[in-house]
């Protein structure tokens, strides 16, 4: 069931709260960060460490005629220069991507996107390495690039992937979901059919810390230690073992403090592999840190879907069906980081939060001469695109029906009694109660008052818009029967040890890139064991120190690893109960648990604390028969289903009619992520995602010119919101626990990134209603808004 209340609480009233378990708690990781003592990959300094720099293709498509490295090799500080041809000799020129494609580590035959890796230099310092790149002479034979996704499949288009046997076009894959025939039927009977072309442009996660690694191969014991900006250290280790042929137990991947991930740090990039090769060949530690332009031009982009959205409804606003045709730009290699059986990620949830009769999606993915990637930027495996499509097309329908967009949504929500709800594309929504969430957002925003204000302003020629977005997410991959990354099942391990004095260490297979795992996971274990969070050390991000698991992305830490932590703590508690029964000299069935201690039923004075039990478990004297010493457990949690958080967002914008500049005046976000472990951290996650949404809606885009040159290759050109473009966020919540998660929690890390772009765009389009605008594509820069006001909205690509 859902609990809702509208009464505001203040952020700080529980400031001094030190919860034993769930609740607002200051972060355990912060003391080191505010002292400048975080340890990120570029902070790693090893004796004798060398520096690696990568030479990249200056054009989008060209054949490599020759590479002359002699001058670079002659540079006094250069230790090593490696080309694609040299890697090919070692069988290392190509590596598998996370989507069963291959990607060049260093180009051998052709370069296929601007910024592709061509050669690398290892030198004594980073300045010399950069200098030596200038000394490498590459002769290219220019080829026509494929830039426009719409013409990529033309028979006349140059074939990008001629490295693949028998490849004669740029087709990457086809994918469909839903029921085409049933959908056609509901469209045929509908009173109203609305369709529009909706583009989700290419954007980039651009974490403040770029990607990089330090590889340290010890030739004596054959062990490779790799500090790496990775969101998935265990999966990476296995892939390195497969690619480089190193035994897996001789590889240690450390993901230290990470300066933001957002999906950018899920794939294995050529640079990581180059640093490993560099260390293998020089016998020295080798550091590679990409610069910002390398990050923006060569690492995992996000989105790039050209969508045709169609919606069918009755005249009174009952949505009957949704249909979409998608052209997906996957760049030069299919580097999508998604579960293998889901080439379009979880885009299949495009039916959103609505109970409809039929749905169908047909997708074609193509190769273009652009950087690979596709799943990143807090997208929950393409749910950003799905939610944007459905929330935009629902607003188009509201426009055609001349109906209030809130009313239209309320009329079509899946009802609470329908959960678990199987969508028309086969997704089983675990729980949800949408109307209270929607109502709370409207109440917090003062929705009716805003509409009145808008009416008055319109009469005066002022442009004000109110945009609504209601989303349902699907996060926390697995289950492993359905979901794997290159054959690795999407489950997560967890290990808990309680030391004799009652302090504990919990080891996770996921790790933080800022989400606060060291705090949240201590709280999860604390809630189950009664050990204060301050007494629980959280170890993560090191394959030698932690159990196997698939990593942090797709909002999966709390749904999967959080469940593992809760269950492993319960396992420890179960053992503690047996030890307690021995200590209290009553049968285990006669004792009760209150957080932190067991006592004899009916006699609270006869009790032992978890700390007493820990000492007993390790101490002298006998334990009950059959009980081993020690107080620890481990688990590998395989989720039964995804979790389905939801939320209602309302955005208010003002547009200057003379300059077409958009100002986001207010943003109200009501999220329901089930049980809330640390509300402060949840709120922080939401705030960050909302800022992403404003960025994508108004300014962020990786654009290309007709020659395939990237126009978003620096933070001067790829604009990210500053404190001046975003309002003070207004948040609220409802609580609909997940029925299958041990503590009822759902993921929340990506909810706001998923849910907010349509709210902003819907608000801008709503403001432009007097100009007859029903749709305009992101990014809604002043120029693009002005063009829409002139009746000529332009697709961004």
């Amino acid at each position: 069931m859902t609990t809702v209340a509208g009464s505001p609480v203040t952020a700080f009233e529980n400031n001094d709260q030190k919860p034993v378990g769930h609740g607002r708690m200051l972060r355990k990781e912060d003391p080191r960060f505010v002292r400048g003592r975080g340890r990120y990959v570029d902070d790693v300094q090893l004796p004798g460490m060398l520096h690696l720099a990568i030479l990249r293709a200056p054009m989008a498509h060209a054949r490599i005629v020759s590479v002359d490295t002699s001058l670079a090799e002659a540079h006094p500080k250069v230790k090593l220069v490696v080309t694609g041809a040299m890697l090919a000799e070692k069988g290392l020129a190509w590596m598998p991507t996370l989507s069963n494609d291959v990607q060049a580590v260093l180009a051998t035959d052709k370069v296929r996107f601007q910024g592709q890796e061509v050669a690398f230099v290892v030198a004594e310092d980073r300045y010399a390495a950069r200098d030596a790149l200038e000394l490498i002479d590459v002769e290219y034979e220019m080829l026509d690039p494929v830039v426009d996704v719409r013409t990529a499949l033309d028979p006349s288009a140059p074939v990008i992937r001629d490295d693949l046997d028998g490849k004669t076009d740029n087709h990457c894959f086809d994918w469909e979901t839903g029921d085409a025939e049933a959908t056609e039927d509901v469209f045929a009977k509908a009173d109203v059919v609305v369709s529009d072309d909706i583009v989700y442009p290419r954007v980039h996660p651009a974490p403040m810390e770029t990607c990089g690694s330090v590889a340290d191969f010890d030739a004596v014991d054959g062990k490779l230690t790799l500090w790496s900006t990775t969101q998935a250290p265990h999966a990476h280790r296995t892939l390195y073992a497969i690619v480089a042929g190193l035994p897996e137990h001789k590889i240690r991947v450390i993901s230290p403090d990470i300066g933001g991930g957002f999906g950018n740090k899920v794939p294995i990039y050529p640079g990581y592999v180059c640093s490993v090769v560099g260390s293998l060949l020089t016998g020295k530690p080798v550091k590679w840190m990409e610069d910002r332009s390398e990050n923006l031009t060569s690492t995992g982009f996000a989105r790039d879907y050209v969508m045709r959205g169609e919606i069918a409804a009755t005249r009174d606003g009952k949505i009957l069906g949704i249909r979409t045709n998608v052209l997906a730009d996957h760049g030069a290699f299919n580097g999508t980081a998604a579960p293998v059986k889901y080439p379009a990620g979880f885009f299949g949830v495009f039916t959103g939060s609505y109970d409809i009769e039929a749905a169908y999606c047909k997708m074609t993915a193509v190769y273009t001469n652009k950087a690979p990637g596709g799943v990143a930027y807090a997208c929950s495996f393409r749910i950003t695109e799905a939610v944007y499509l459905v929330e935009r097309i629902v607003d188009c329908l509201a426009y055609e029906l001349d109906m209030d967009p809130a009313e239209l949504r309320l009329r079509n929500f899946i009802k609470p009694e329908q959960f678990p709800y199987t969508s028309k594309t086969g997704w089983v929504y675990d729980s949800g109660d949408y109307e209270p969430t929607m109502r709370l957002s409207m109440e917090l925003a003062g929705y009716d008052e805003l509409r009145r204000e808008q009416e008055e302003k319109r009469a005066r020629g002022e442009l004000m818009g109110i945009g609504i977005s209601f989303f349902t997410e699907a996060v926390g991959a697995g289950p492993r029967k359905d979901m794997d990354i290159l054959g690795l099942g999407m489950a997560d391990g967890c290990e808990l040890r309680v030391h004799p004095t009652g302090k504990a260490v919990v080891r996770l297979s996921v790790q933080t890139q800022g989400q606060g795992h060291e705090t949240t996971f201590a709280q999860i274990v604390s809630e189950e064991t009664g050990i204060p969070p301050s007494d629980i050390d959280v170890v993560h991000g090191d394959t030698d120190q932690t159990p196997f698991g698939l990593g942090t992305y797709g909002s999966r830490s709390t749904p999967v690893s959080g469940a593992a932590a809760a269950l492993v703590a319960r396992k420890v508690r179960d053992k503690a109960r047996l030890i307690a029964s021995g200590m209290l000299e009553v049968p285990a069935t006669d004792i009760e648990w209150t957080k932190g201690s067991f006592h004899v039923k009916g006699d609270p004075s006869a009790s032992v604390t978890i700390q007493d039990i820990a000492m007993k478990a390790h101490g002298a004297g006998d334990l009950p028969e059959g009980i081993e010493g020690g107080l620890e457990a481990q688990i590998c949690y395989n989720p039964e289903n995804l979790t389905y958080p939801h939320g209602a967002y309302i955005c208010v914008v003002d547009i200057d009619p003379g300059t077409a500049r958009v100002t986001v005046r207010r943003f109200v976000a009501v999220d329901d992520c089930g049980t809330r472990i640390n509300p402060m951290i949840i709120e922080g996650q939401v705030h960050g995602g909302l800022t992403d949404g404003v960025g994508m809606a108004l300014m962020e885009m990786i654009a290309f010119d007709e020659d395939g040159n990237c126009l978003g290759g620096s933070l001067m050109d790829y604009l990210i919101p500053t404190a001046l473009e975003v309002p003070d966020w207004e948040t609220g919540f409802t609580v609909t626990p997940s029925p299958h998660h041990p503590i009822g929690a759902k993921g929340v890390g990506e909810s706001a990134t998923v849910g907010s772009p349509p709210a902003v765009v819907n608000a801008v389009v709503d403001a432009l209603k007097p100009f007859g605008v029903r749709h305009a594509d992101m990014p809604l820069t002043p120029s693009r808004v002005w063009e829409a006001m002139q009746g000529r909205p332009m697709p961004p690509i």
Binding site: D16, G36, G38, T731
Partner: protein, 171 residues
């Protein structure tokens, strides 16, 4: 060439190349890795330190240009084992997540409060507008700086000046 400067109250002298950027001098030569970098074009502000008491982007200052001057970094915020109120504010108000932009944000915040003891929300947003945070969405950074201002003014209470945040209720 040789350069001498005062970093966090301590005079340092090193042999450097003329082209060495201040951020690399601090990180690679002095092992003060609390100062980060995030772009090539002076846009992100993760590298902000003080030069002669004013916040600057240390990726766009040559180490040589800092010769004979005073530099202060995040490592120099804590005084006598006591965290600066700005540092405390960031912890108290969840003004950081991944922590990467945090040192630069705090250096700017400290400089702001030294000039303006009770900045408005707008003044705070303006002050940090040359620095990008990808995690927090800025509201909590604003609150952190307000917290520090109130702490220094002795007007902070546990609840009174707290901005409204989450609305709703858990079961």
């Amino acid at each position: 060439m040789q350069v001498t400067m005062v970093v966090n109250d301590e005079e340092v002298t090193r042999e450097i190349e003329g082209r060495l950027l201040l951020v690399h001098f601090l990180r690679d030569h002095l092992a003060l890795t609390g100062t980060h970098w995030g772009c090539d074009t002076s846009n992100c502000g993760t590298c902000v330190v003080w030069l002669d008491g004013e916040p600057v982007k240390s990726c766009t200052v040559l180490a040589a240009m800092a010769g004979g001057r005073e530099v202060r970094t995040v490592e120099g915020l804590e005084q006598g084992g006591e965290l600066d109120p700005v540092q405390k504010g960031f912890v108290e108000c969840h003004g950081l997540q991944c922590g990467f932009c945090t040192p630069g944000m705090m250096m700017t915040a400290r400089a702001l409060l030294d000039r303006n003891t009770s900045p408005s929300e707008e003044e705070i947003r303006e002050a940090i507008s040359g620095q990008i945070c990808r995690c927090t969405g800025y509201s909590t950074i604003v609150r952190s700086i307000q917290w520090a201002a109130a702490e220094e003014a002795g007007t902070r209470t546990t609840t009174a000046d707290a901005p409204t945040a989450d609305s709703g209720s858990a079961s």
